[in-house]
């Protein structure tokens, strides 16, 4: 479109506005739909998680009690040891190997095995703070 006429010009403007609004209205609908779906799913999951969390807390208390006991008794247990579920086996292997290397240096030839691998606690993710910090990032296009 090269010839400059009022018709052409206004048609471009109209086309542009219509397409921009059309595209973004479709996006509104899809994002809204997505929100509805995931909130529904999320609520369901949340309830399950709430349950799990309580279980986990109970387990943790139990574990801490066990640990305390274990410390008191100070018996050396041989065997497979306790490995928290959900920790990938490679990580276990890596930790094992790291221990092995370090131990080898201090007491070469000794045999040992991993007793327990647990995750360290993860703090709650403060959505609001993190999001805000990102918004205020220093690179203003």
């Amino acid at each position: 479109m090269e010839e400059i006429t009022w018709g052409n010009t206004l048609s471009v403007v109209l086309t542009g506005l219509v397409v921009v609004f059309a595209a973004l209205v479709i996006l509104i609908f899809l994002v809204w739909l997505m929100g509805k779906i995931f909130i529904a799913i999320g609520n369901k999951k949340n309830k399950e998680q709430e349950q799990q969390k309580q279980d986990a807390r109970r387990q943790a208390q139990q574990a801490m009690a066990d640990q305390a006991k274990a410390d008191q008794v100070k018996t050396e247990q041989a065997g497979t040891g306790q490995i928290e579920e959900g920790i990938p086996p490679e990580v276990v292997a890596a930790i094992s190997a790291a221990v092995a290397v370090v131990m080898e240096e201090s007491a070469p030839g000794a045999a040992y095995t991993i007793q327990r691998v647990q995750r360290a606690g993860v703090g709650r993710s403060a959505w609001g703070n993190a999001g805000l910090a990102a918004q205020l990032s220093p690179f203003d296009r």
Partner: protein
């Protein structure tokens, strides 16, 4: 020897830039150097978007030093292939064959006779071929939080409404005598989005890259000056004091789906917007996925910084006296200001509409953030809102239209490129 020395020194003086300054063109160059210095002042002392304005200004300065030749294209000398040359295997050769594979003729590039281009000419190819702006969008995508937009998708409407400035300015530019390609590029200044403006102008009217980039980045820096009066004029005190309700938290899955959905919809509807939107959304997907943190770190820091330097300097280097020192540039500066103002007005007025239809739940001040200029425009909404009601925190609500405006202006750019390319 004294003779040849004198010849040599006068020849050098003749081909120095100083001699050239005392021609008519030289005076224009001097004027451009002065303008570059003013832009440097604005970038450094006033901190007007210095990350781009400083390189742009310096590129402008370099290209206007007579005979510096930093933007000269290369001249390639091709000669017929001889056996001697063919055996030396020292040259890039072109063999012309017929359909049967017989050698019709051969050529080689004579490197001694060929003159290579200037430094900035080569770096400029990334602008000309439309490579730099999408890569900057990749970095911007890794830094953008679309959470507020996902939490309140109606913000998309404000991001669309604020594109009004683009299209009204397009009409204005046509009236002032610009051709359609130029008018479209000028209109995109109203998108308040540097890479989008540079991408569109690079595609449609590269000779206007200098003034359009300067206008776009200057006005983006001036958003806190341009927008508030318009916002106050178009809204009542009651509207401005609306407190909006806290946004819902957005889940990680939604954040991951969002860039994929936007890519699909926008790139299917407006294929010309694919490079910009595709890269923006790739960056955002990388960010939200949480599994490629080392790529995200590089995309938002080193890659983006390297491209920003190259883009800035070479866009500045398109601003030769010939391209810049004319009435068109004044027109572009005036039209750019209109574009920002009308975009702001469009957003605010659509915000008033939403205020009405929502029964007073939407504060129209967040509409002005729809022009993009992330995150400056959203901060302006916050500030103007806080003037009326200091306990009102509109920032997060304004971020929705703000990031929607980025998508909106990329769509508008795609439409204009599709029509006029």
């Amino acid at each position: 020897m004294i003779d040849t020395f004198l010849t040599s020194i006068t020849e050098l003086a003749r081909t120095s830039g100083i001699a050239q300054l005392f021609t008519m063109d030289g005076l224009l160059n001097l004027a451009m150097i002065a303008i570059a210095c003013v832009l440097l002042y604005l970038a450094i002392a006033k901190q007007y978007e210095p990350l781009l304005l400083l390189p742009i200004a310096f590129g402008m300065l370099l290209v206007n030093l007579p005979l510096g030749a930093v933007m000269d294209p290369p001249t390639t000398v091709i000669k017929p292939l001889t056996d001697e040359i063919q055996e030396s295997a020292q040259y890039a050769m072109i063999e012309l064959q017929d359909a049967a594979g017989n050698l019709l003729n051969g050529f080689y590039q004579d490197k001694n006779a060929s003159v290579s281009g200037g430094l900035l000419y080569y770096l400029y190819q990334g602008v000309k071929l439309g490579i730099y702006p999408p890569l900057i969008f990749l970095g911007i995508g890794t830094m953008t939080d679309f959470g507020p937009l996902i939490a309140n998708p109606k913000s998309f409407l404000l991001g669309a409404a604020a594109q009004l400035g683009i299209f009204v300015t397009f009409i204005g530019a046509v009236c002032l005598g610009f051709n359609y390609q130029e008018a479209a590029s000028i209109g995109i200044i109203g998108g308040a989005d540097g890479p989008t403006a540079i991408y569109t102008t690079g595609m449609l009217a590269p000779h206007l890259l200098g003034p359009i980039a300067v206008a776009a980045y200057s006005y983006m820096a001036l958003v806190p000056v341009i927008q508030p009066p318009i916002m106050r004029l178009l809204t009542t005190k009651k509207e401005r004091s609306v407190v909006m309700k806290q946004l819902r938290p957005v889940s990680k899955v939604e954040r991951i789906f969002f860039p994929v959905v936007v890519t699909l919809i926008v790139c299917l509807m407006v294929p010309s917007a694919t490079p910009l939107i595709g890269m923006l959304m790739l960056g955002n997907l990388m960010r939200e996925s949480g599994v490629v943190d080392r790529l995200v770190k590089t995309a938002q820091n080193e890659l983006m910084n390297i491209i920003t330097i190259f883009l800035g300097v070479t866009v500045g280097a398109t601003a030769t006296a010939e391209n810049f020192l004319n009435l068109q540039t004044l027109g572009i500066l005036a039209l750019g200001l209109c574009a920002f103002s009308i975009g702001t007005a469009g957003g605010v007025l659509f915000g008033k509409l939403m205020y009405l239809f929502s029964g007073g739940k939407v504060n129209p001040l967040i509409g002005s953030a729809g022009v993009s200029a992330v995150p400056m425009a959203a901060r302006v909404s916050q500030k103007v809102g806080a003037e009326t009601n200091p306990t009102n925190f509109l920032l997060m609500h304004a971020m929705g239209p703000n990031v929607a405006g980025v998508i909106g202006s990329a769509v508008a750019a795609g439409v204009l490129i599709a029509i006029f390319k």
